[in-house]
Amino acid sequence: MGKVILEVRELTTKYVTRFREDVYAVDHVSLKVEEGKSLGIAGESGCGKSTLALSLMGYYFPPLHYISGDIIIDGKNISGMKPDDVRKSILGREIAYIPQAAMNALNPTQKVIHFIEDVVQAHDPTKSKKDIYEMARALFESVGLPASVLQKYPVELSGGMKQRTVIAVAVILGPKVLIADEPSSALDVTSQKMVIKMLRDLMESGFIKAMIFITHELPLLYNVTDDIMVMYAGQIVEKGTAREAVFDPLHPYAKGLMGSIIVPEEGLRSAKLTAIPGVPPNLKKPPAGCRFADRCKYVRPECRVTSIAMREVGEGRMYRCVMSEKELREAYQNG
């Protein structure tokens, strides 16, 4: 086992709506990412993937509120720190976050180098512009972006180029953990591949030590990350290596999710896609028992009584269901 870079224990956060209702979007989430490893988070929209990413930064602003849990980056607990301290000493250095559609948020009136100057000078005001330029040039060239991009305006760049620029700006200070929220969802396949290659290069060169990758495209997740975590209604329902999660899912929801994979490979046309009926529960009033019970084919009376604990099978393999591994496999075989 490698060194644990990011450890999260029982993290719970909530949103407070303007009618003072609590929405528990991240509910007792625990995870561990080792050095040099990447973790993928899958799940449908509204299941709390992006909220988890936001909560992991330790930087909370309304309507998001921290309730309990620990976030430990490289031995240092950052939960409970003041927002200003988090922004000054954690964000950018320890943990970097690329929000969804970040490339659309680049200021059109500024050159790319300006964004980098902004980030670096916020953390180190003594650094001269020349040093920053040299630093940025070195990083851009190491990830295959031409240095001329630095002197361009965002409108002059293509979508893939913009996304790669955003990633470069995010990692300029060499953070330990990079959280990428759907970094490639608006791009076509070729630019997507370039973005993924850039992330892979950054990992391999040790510039970032661990990565959390969020997307709902399962084939992509399978190819990019080492481990996959499936989220449903704010909880983790399945955790395992990429191969286990895709080819041998245990939780009924994960099973349904893997049944909706579309890839251009032989045998797809004859395979029937499985659609999961129904909608996720309202997180303002989460059900007492299993949150997937209303949509599950194998639901039992005991599912609805109390909350279900994670069951551990093998190393790092977990799922959240009342049925044992053997029962689940039998159920899947019988359809």
Binding site: E44, S45, G159, D188, V189, T190, Q192, K193, M194, I196, K197, R200, H216, E217, L218, P219, L220, Y222, N223, V224, V246, G256, L257, G259, S260, I261, I262, V263, P264, E265, E266, L268, R269, L273, T274, A275, I276
Partner: protein
């Protein structure tokens, strides 16, 4: 699956040029396309390859610079608005972004009522109209009682896209142009939407044109696949032939760039 008998829509030498002089862009470049009745056709290409422009020309939303479109054997003539309305009874579309497809000032009832009126149901008694609307909503697993008196923005993306399919159910067009109908929707609702579309096609026997950049999706739904690059078709044929044994280098690159499950994804060839 397709009955290769009757030609439904035909395009010959279709060209669209935007701008002129130095800013001239040829978006669609002498494209020939033949659609048979009841067929599912996919047009696949990267962003900027001209697939949406082609779809808009076929829909009659923009005028072609050159070339002709033949609808059911006759040359299409949509110069006047009345002729266009007549044409749109036969060809309908589902667009990529369900959030911007609806008029935000109109309630959902009026969206569906418009469809009934377009099919000549203007003089039906109101109860009959409600019955028709409820039937369409049932088809797409929505409850009409919950939708009535709501505005489109009160629905989720998946619900809006399903409402779009309900519109198609009421309109029963000969041709449906689906322009990236599932790209804004996440993976698990995608299967539901696709199944509904295919069920609808089997029920009313329409021709479907799928515009997509997702090769896996094109392979899953279509009989015939056209690969588009810079306004031209570079390869076409049955889905199995084009996707499993591609011959054009562009098609090969496109397919190799898609992350797959059973094959190794080669990141070195970027």
């Amino acid at each position: 699956m397709a009955k290769r008998e009757q030609i439904c829509l035909e395009a010959r030498g279709l060209t669209k040029v935007f701008g002129f002089g130095r800013n001239k862009t040829v978006a669609v470049d002498h494209v020939d396309l033949t659609l048979y009745e009841g067929e599912v056709v996919s047009i696949v290409g990267e962003s900027g390859s001209g697939k949406t422009t082609l779809a808009k020309i076929l829909l009659g939303l923009i005028n072609e610079t050159e070339g002709e479109v033949y609808f059911q054997g006759q040359k299409r003539d949509i110069r006047s608005y009345r002729q266009k309305q007549e044409y749109w009874k036969n060809i309908q579309a589902i667009f990529q972004d369900p959030f911007s497809s609806y008029n935000i000032f109109n309630k959902i009832d009026s969206v569906l009522l418009d469809c009934i009126h377009m099919r000549g149901g203007r003089r039906l008694p109101y109860e009959k109209k409600v019955e028709l609307m409820a039937e369409a909503c049932r088809f797409v697993n929505l409850k009409f009682e919950e939708l009535t008196n709501k505005y489109p923005f009160e629905l989720s993306g998946g619900q809006m896209q399903r409402l779009m399919i309900a519109r198609i159910f009421l309109l029963k067009p000969r041709i449906l142009v689906a322009d990236e109908p599932t790209s804004m929707i996440d993976a698990c609702s995608r299967a539901t939407i696709l199944d509904m579309l295919m069920q609808l096609r089997n029920e009313i026997g329409m021709t479907v044109i799928f515009i997509t950049h997702d090769i896996g999706l094109a392979y899953y739904v279509s009989d015939t696949v056209y690969i588009m690059e810079r306004g031209r078709f570079v390869e076409s044929g049955s889905a199995d032939k084009v996707i499993l044994t591609p011959s054009h280098p562009y098609t090969k690159r496109l397919i190799s760039d898609v992350p797959k499950i059973y094959e190794e994804w080669d990141l070195s060839t970027v």
